[in-house]
């Protein structure tokens, strides 16, 4: 066990964990965050996605020790209750979810990608999301919400 300092959603927090523990379990169990979720534990579905220093990262296959000293943002850290991030607002406006379990993967992957590629085409956005699953298949609404956000931020 090691005492590690993590910066999650703008707050520094200390946790005492096995440094090999996947980041996901520290976030969801020790820090009791609800955004990142265990979907597969294999880095295949995206449900555990967080943003680490601007990069969409699969927290289920990332040891917690790899993110010390780096900025970790989870879905709940993207916006505030009063002021959702514009991408989150686009998902709310488009009612772009069914069960909602996949949203960390969809929203945070799209956010990190569009930050780097603000003028991405639809095809490029889909390509960026090719490793992200929504088993309820709210794809049409999700892509619409992402395009809406992408359009607004470049307008």
């Amino acid at each position: 066990m090691s005492l590690l300092t993590l910066k999650v959603n703008g707050r520094s927090q200390q946790v005492e964990v096995d440094p090999a523990t996947p980041l996901l379990f520290v976030l969801s169990d020790d820090l009791e965050l609800r955004g990142p979720k265990f979907g597969c534990g294999l880095g295949q579905c995206g449900a555990c996605t967080v943003i680490v220093d601007g990069q969409a990262t699969r927290s289920c296959v990332t040891p917690v020790s790899a993110v010390t000293g780096r900025e970790v943002t989870t879905l709940e850290g993207l916006g505030t209750a009063e002021s959702p991030h514009p991408l989150q607002q686009a998902f709310i406006d488009e009612q772009a979810a069914q069960c909602g379990f996949c949203l960390s993967g969809v929203i945070l992957t799209a956010k990190a990608f569009l930050d780097r590629n603000p003028r991405a085409t639809d095809e490029q956005i889909q390509q960026a999301l090719s490793g992200v699953l929504c088993r309820c298949f709210a794809n049409v609404r999700m892509l619409k919400a992402i395009r809406r956000y992408a359009g607004e931020r470049t307008a």
């Binding site: 709310i92 069960c99 379990f101």
Partner: protein, 780 residues
């Protein structure tokens, strides 16, 4: 705004037992609904519940009005992502004449909500939105409030109107009574009144409108509480160790093999059920992975390639749905007989989140936080496994990842309960991806033979359907925990399989709940013809055989497989007689609502009248085509038609669906945006199932155990344009819309592929390999 219980409230309840009194203390949502003076009285609500899946006749089981006028409703139908929570709030607001923000809804909690069995089969809309159950409760309560106001105000009830939580004199709104003053904090002590007048859809102001999902904001902001997020003080973490092969049993378990691992609390073995409990989730995972269990060899499995041939050869339980008695003779006498065989594989729910549950078993009491679709049945079956009384167990529904049927939610609830009981502390269990996929209850594999005879005019005069499907287990219901893997591993048996040949005579009336009968037959059983079609020489015979794998309802169970075969075969026949597929269908239908859906979909798709396949098709490169399919879901629970436009890349075998046009009639529409969301999601999930999804195995075990071996489409695929026409029918009963669109996707795509290429695919999924192989087999 979503008023499910906070973790704190649940904890308080779990700790204090399962009385409603302690529940009320911990729950903000209910404290506002009852004054403290009547808390003890409200215990009576619990006793008034029916415990048989049919809800309750007591109004107080469904609705309570607080002194502040807040209406709290209790429902036995849960929201697992389909938007039912919001729609039920709309229903209560509408019938009770209160704004939506004055409605609280408690769903599926066995200590307080009515027992409405299982939330499934797109039955919630018909069950709770017609003249019964929650809808009738709202109407009964409104009528009662008007009657009370009539007495209070000294005005005839006919001169009063309910709106915004008050009852007012129609001609003098200054004379009114607030709901909170009329009944607040007290029980109605009434039974649901069958004569209570529901509001007609033309009077609706909340129902029928696209109210946004009340849970959407929390989901998108990462604050929504899934069952995966439930925390109970002192909670430990468990993982199960499933058999490595189908049929393997436990030889011995070496606890010491993980003795050195940190955080391991206990290894639990019960029959063939093995689990590890640890302090932390990661520790439990490592413990389960490294635990040395010696298993016996499993049962050899017939090769995957022999699936369809093998299904036909096994002892079967036969069911005859319809038999006009003249089918063999007429087929023998017919000048033209067409026949085809269709194959549908096992597919899986494959929820994106592996299933999770939290259990707190303390002595003779237990609280289970579960994403099961069957809160009350799970209470009873958990009681059987734990050796407790059902009434000593409280099952609280908390949403899991989208389930689409019987995913791992039920079995993991048993896992958590068994581990908690073994250790005497609360335990959270989340399955591994592999445990979820290898051991869930798969959608059934099907082999379907069909034959038709044609009359001289080219119309179908005989339709003969004969199918074989494989099944084992099912939903556990109230008394069969062995229907899912955990129950089986601890020694409970699945529902027994009893072969039966020949089939008994068809029952009456026709039960087409599994869409075994095609839409085009008359469906005549004795004097009653309840099919959707005109073909009077008809036979529908099913053979159910035993599956080596657990099976269970997967979105549009059996209906999807059957409809794939019916609707593709119908297309084959239309092509044989060179008829337009839409026109040919309409000619054989005798059902106004289904025919209307077909016509509307065709019109919206600007369907070009001509036979399939299209003429002058190039034999290489990309070609496009269109196909149609339709169904009366469950015979009478929603009417849908879909036109698919596809592009077939004849060089790679890849199929791209470019457009779907869907016409859907589910009666009066409660929430048009929610309905569209369900239709869209079902349609795209249907594309994934049609193009890629298939359970696979080797000689001993399931091999489709993750997202690289089970092929779901991701957010990376270019979705088709989806155009939906909602057919709002306000003078008929509400029916379902969650499983309709998915049912017709594979046949619509298959028919479009035929239209584009002249090649008929009779096996799902339409993988590039299968498409290429079929294209190569084309006659010159």
């Amino acid at each position: 705004m979503m008023h499910h219980l906070s973790s704190d409230a649940r904890t308080a309840l779990g700790r204090a037992g399962i009385s409603r009194r302690s529940f009320l203390k911990g729950s903000g949502a209910l404290v506002v609904a009852f004054s403290s003076a009547t808390v003890a009285d409200s215990l009576g609500v619990v006793f008034a519940q029916g415990f048989n899946g049919t809800g309750s006749v007591q109004l107080d089981s469904w609705l309570a009005v607080g002194r502040d006028g807040i209406v709290t409703a209790y429902t036995g139908k849960c929201d697992f992502g389909q938007g039912l929570y919001t729609a039920q709030m709309q229903l209560v607001a509408e019938e009770m004449c209160v704004p939506l923000n004055r409605v609280r809804l408690i769903q599926c909690d066995t200590s307080i909500t009515p027992d409405q069995g299982t939330t499934s089969g797109q039955q919630s809309h018909p069950t709770n939105f017609n003249q019964a159950n929650l809808a009738l409760a709202g109407a009964t309560a409104r009528q009662a409030l008007i009657r009370m106001a009539s007495e209070t105000l000294g005005v005839p009830a006919s001169d009063l109107v309910a709106r915004d939580g008050i009852v007012a004199v129609k001609t003098d709104s200054s004379r009114s009574a607030r709901y909170g003053d009329l009944i607040g904090g007290r029980r109605f002590n009434l039974q649901l009144d069958q004569s209570a007048a529901r509001k007609h859809p033309r009077e609706w102001s909340v129902l029928g409108t696209p109210v946004p999902r009340v849970d959407m904001r929390d989901m998108v902001m990462g604050r929504f509480e899934f069952v995966h997020n439930v925390k109970v003080p002192g909670m430990l973490h468990g993982r199960v160790v499933r058999p490595p092969e189908v049929g393997a049993t436990v030889g011995s378990v070496d606890d010491k093999s993980i003795g050195e691992l940190p955080g391991i609390v206990k290894v639990v073995v019960k029959g063939n059920f093995v689990g590890v409990v640890a302090q932390k989730p990661w520790q439990a995972m490592q413990g389960a992975e490294r635990l040395n269990v010696s298993w016996t060899r499993g049962t050899p499995l017939a090769p995957h390639t022999d699936l369809y041939a093998g299904i036909r050869k096994q002892p079967a339980r036969d069911t005859l749905l319809v038999d006009s008695g003249d089918v063999d003779a007429r087929l023998a006498a017919a000048a033209t007989v067409l026949r085809s065989t269709y194959h549908h594989p096992y597919q899986m729910h494959a929820s994106i989140g592996s299933s999770c549950a939290v259990a707190d078993v303390q002595g003779d009491k237990a609280t289970l936080w579960s994403a099961t679709q069957s809160a009350y049945p799970t209470r009873n079956t958990s009681a059987m496994l734990l050796g407790l009384k059902p009434e000593s167990i409280r099952v609280i529904y908390v949403r899991g990842a989208g389930c689409y049927g019987l995913n791992g939610a039920d079995t993991v609830t048993y896992d958590a309960a068994l581990l908690s009981q073994a250790i005497g502390r609360p335990v959270r269990v989340q399955l591994s991806r592999k445990d979820e996929m290898a051991w869930e209850n798969f959608g059934n594999a099907f082999v379907i033979d069909q034959r038709v005879a044609l009359d001289p005019a080219g119309n179908i005069s005989v339709w003969d359907y004969e199918a074989w499907s494989a099944a084992r287990g099912a939903r556990p219901g109230y008394n069969t925990p062995g229907n899912v893997v955990t129950g089986f591993l601890v020694g409970s048996s699945p529902a027994p399989f009893a072969p039966r040949t020949p089939a008994p005579a068809p029952g009456t009336p026709l039960n087409n709940g599994s869409n075994t009968a095609p839409s085009y037959i008359a469906g005549r059983v004795r004097e009653s013809a309840q099919g959707a079609g005109v073909i009077r020489s008809e036979r529908v015979l099913s053979h159910r055989v035993l599956s080596p794998f657990f099976t269970g309802p997967l979105r549009a169970p059996e209906r999807l497989q059957n409809t794939f075969a019916h609707e593709c075969f119908m297309d084959e026949v239309a092509a044989h007689v060179k008829a337009d597929p839409v026109e040919y269908r309409l000619k054989h239908l005798n059902h106004a609502r289904l025919s209307a859906a077909v016509r509307v979909a065709a019109k919206a798709a600007t369907w070009e009248q001509r036979p399939s396949p299209q003429p002058d098709r190039p034999r290489a490169g990309k070609v496009s085509g269109r196909g149609i399919a339709c169904v009366c879901y469950e015979g009478d629970n929603g009417y849908v038609a879909m036109v698919a436009d596809v592009t077939v890349d004849q060089d790679s075998g890849r199929i791209q669906v470019t457009r779907l046009v869907i016409a859907q009639d589910s009666g009066p529409i409660s929430n048009p945006d929610g309905m569209r969301n369900q239709i869209e999601g079902g349609a795209l999930q249907g594309i994934s199932r049609a193009l890629g999804e298939e359970v696979t195995w080797d000689d001993r075990k399931i091999t489709s155990v993750d997202w690289s071996s089970y092929h779901s489409l991701t957010l990376g695929f270019a979705p088709p344009t989806v155009d939906i026409v909602l057919l709002n029918q306000t003078d008929v009963e509400a029916c379902g819309s969650g499983e309709t669109s998915i049912t017709v996707v594979a046949p619509a795509i298959g028919n479009a592929i035929f239209d584009a290429t002249g090649v008929r695919l009779r096996e799902v999924p339409f993988t590039p390999e299968r498409v290429l192989s079929a294209l190569r087999g084309r006659s010159v």
